[in-house]
């Protein structure tokens, strides 16, 4: 275990796993809320990745689609 990141991960795991009785007041729900926030950060990242992927796909679809677009019916109310 030479890599500093490995050491850090190991120390973090041990620190979390060993639950010492806390002398201070424990606000009910603090741990649950912190985890919810972590989950929100991850999900927020997935959201951006998904948006990026959709934009990328629509960019390529637009480049390949002109022929199909011409053949399609115009939507109701389309001024074409």
């Amino acid at each position: 275990m030479k890599h500093p990141l490995e050491k850090l991960a190991c120390a973090l795991a041990v620190s979390i796993a060993a639950v010492a009785p806390a002398g201070a007041y424990i606000d009910p729900g603090t741990g649950s809320r912190l985890l919810q926030m972590m989950g929100a950060v991850v999900a927020g990242g997935i959201f951006y990745f998904r948006e990026f992927r959709l934009k990328l796909m629509s960019f390529f679809t637009r480049r390949e689609a002109p022929a199909a677009e011409d053949a399609s019916e115009p939507p109701p109310g389309d001024p074409r």
Binding site: G31, L34, G39, A40, A43, G44, F47
Partner: protein
């Protein structure tokens, strides 16, 4: 201002209160919350859920029908439909708690794109209309601030629904123990202590139990976590939906494990050896005839076991079936739900009925209080001797309590002291139970009831159909 007549059941909510007035359930919504409440009632999702019976049906109450104590109320009153029997979450089988949790999550997800959220998520927001869960606490639905990406009720959902289910699945803790306080439930820290090292050995328990408990201890005294907002409301909805889906996955994992369990009492009906086929046929015939003759609109089945006689009574009207065993209650619930039978099964011991709970013991009414004069027929089939021997309740006390519950009839099965099932629980102490001898049993019954019909089975047991004497 909170009106003096605010129900002790709903005094915690600053937005609204619930009272009972001339047999109707009236929700008084205070002026500061009224606009949002009205808009919520008109929302298409809420309307659809009401039409489907998954949200309690609610209508604005005309001014002329407003209860007098709200005459000067700066708000508006609404009327809810009545659910036939109010149950406490501590009386549910774990499967019923899972169904209530599933309903809560489905509603949260359906409301999300409409700009609403649930501000709390306790199982006390749900009641059962027979076997179907119904969301009843409409003031819990409030507008969601655009961009907010954390569900404010998530912690309460975990402690009052998810963790009690995990405790049931992992270590067999009864829901009655973990939900004696349905607002607080079971904390992550308490469950972590109960599970010990196991919480780290099962990956499924890391997210739900181990990490929240560990992080809470580490964060103690560190102040409140900062607020969080997404860059757009679309992103916030995406985050919240994923969070709710994650809870649904954890909930369905628990529900799947519950399916696999079984118990002694659940197998009782299939394995009973003290009934010959002639006895059983005679018993079923007498009970079916008695139920058809008395036509009860509401029946209470005490000691329902797997509910075979509750099902007969369900042909005439609503049934509340009480049994001491969670697995038996779960089996009745599953059959009632699949067959759409009007049966509400509840976990309970009639020898120690659910007490009144909550602040000043007034938030949740006791079982006897809810059942008082509420049934046309009470079934006590092969249960009196259990209450007498195991719980030590004299027969006269039992009939006295039942006379306060049934408006008309009692169908009771007498089990003689010589019966092998009596001997099995008395274990040589039969002389202590003189009121279980047949002449004494009948004399005690006659103090409160008139015997209309009786039938002695070949195995020595006797069935009585009795009518309550008027006081």
């Amino acid at each position: 201002m909170i009106p003096a007549a605010a129900s002790p059941r709903s005094f915690r909510d600053p937005d609204a209160t619930l009272i009972e007035y001339e047999g109707r359930l009236v929700r008084a919504v205070r002026s500061h919350a009224l606009d949002a409440f009205r808009r919520m009632l008109e929302d298409p999702v809420v309307r659809r859920w009401m039409d489907e019976g998954r949200i309690v049906r609610t209508r604005p109450l005309p001014r002329v029908e407003t209860p007098p104590q709200f005459a000067d109320f700066e708000g508006e009153c609404f009327e809810h439909e009545r659910i036939p029997f109010v149950s406490q979450p501590a009386e549910w089988a774990p499967e019923m708690l899972a169904a209530a949790g599933s309903l809560t999550l489905s509603l949260s997800r359906a409301l999300l794109p409409r700009g609403w959220q649930l501000k709390d998520a306790t199982p006390a927001n749900v009641l059962f209309r027979n076997s179907e869960p119904v969301f009843v606490d409409l003031p819990s639905i409030i507008p969601r601030e655009p961009g907010s990406c954390l569900w404010i009720a998530r912690h309460q959902f975990e402690t009052t629904i998810l963790l009690p289910l995990i405790a049931s699945v992992e270590v067999g803790l009864p829901v009655a123990w973990t939900l004696s306080n349905p607002v607080a439930g079971l904390s992550h820290e308490s469950l972590a202590g109960i599970l010990g090292a196991r919480r780290w050995l099962k990956p499924a328990l890391w997210r739900s139990v181990a990490l929240p408990a560990a992080l809470a201890a580490k964060a103690a005294g560190g102040g409140a976590p900062p607020a969080m907002k997404a860059a757009s409301d679309e992103q916030a909805q995406f985050i919240l939906d994923r969070s709710l889906k994650g809870l649904e996955t954890q909930l369905s994992r628990c529900a799947g494990k519950l399916e696999a369990r079984s118990s002694h009492w659940h197998r009782y009906t299939a394995t009973r050896s003290h009934y010959g086929s002639a006895d059983l046929q005679a018993k079923r015939t007498f009970i079916a005839d008695a139920i058809a003759g008395t036509r009860p609109r509401r029946t209470l089945d005490i000691g329902a076991n797997t509910g075979e006689y509750s099902e007969i009574a369900a042909s005439q009207g609503d049934v509340v079936a009480i049994d001491i065993d969670e697995r038996s209650v779960a089996a009745i619930w599953a059959r009632a739900r699949n067959g759409q039978l009007p049966i509400l099964p509840l976990v309970g011991n009639f020898g120690r009925p659910t007490p009144a709970l909550g602040w000043r013991n007034r938030e949740l009414e006791s079982l006897l209080g809810r059942a008082a004069a509420g049934f046309d027929l009470v079934l006590m089939l092969a249960v009196v001797h259990h209450l007498r021997v195991t719980e030590g309740i004299p027969v006269a006390e039992q009939f006295d309590a039942v006379a306060g519950i049934t408006r008309r009839h009692l169908l009771v099965e007498y089990v003689p002291v010589t019966d092998p099932m009596f001997a099995a629980i008395a274990r040589g102490r039969e002389p202590l139970y003189g009121d279980c001898l047949r002449p004494e049993f009948e004399t005690t019954l006659l103090q409160r009831f008139q015997i209309e019909r009786k039938h002695e089975l070949p195995n020595g047991r006797v069935l009585y159909l009795a009518r309550r004497r008027l006081a």
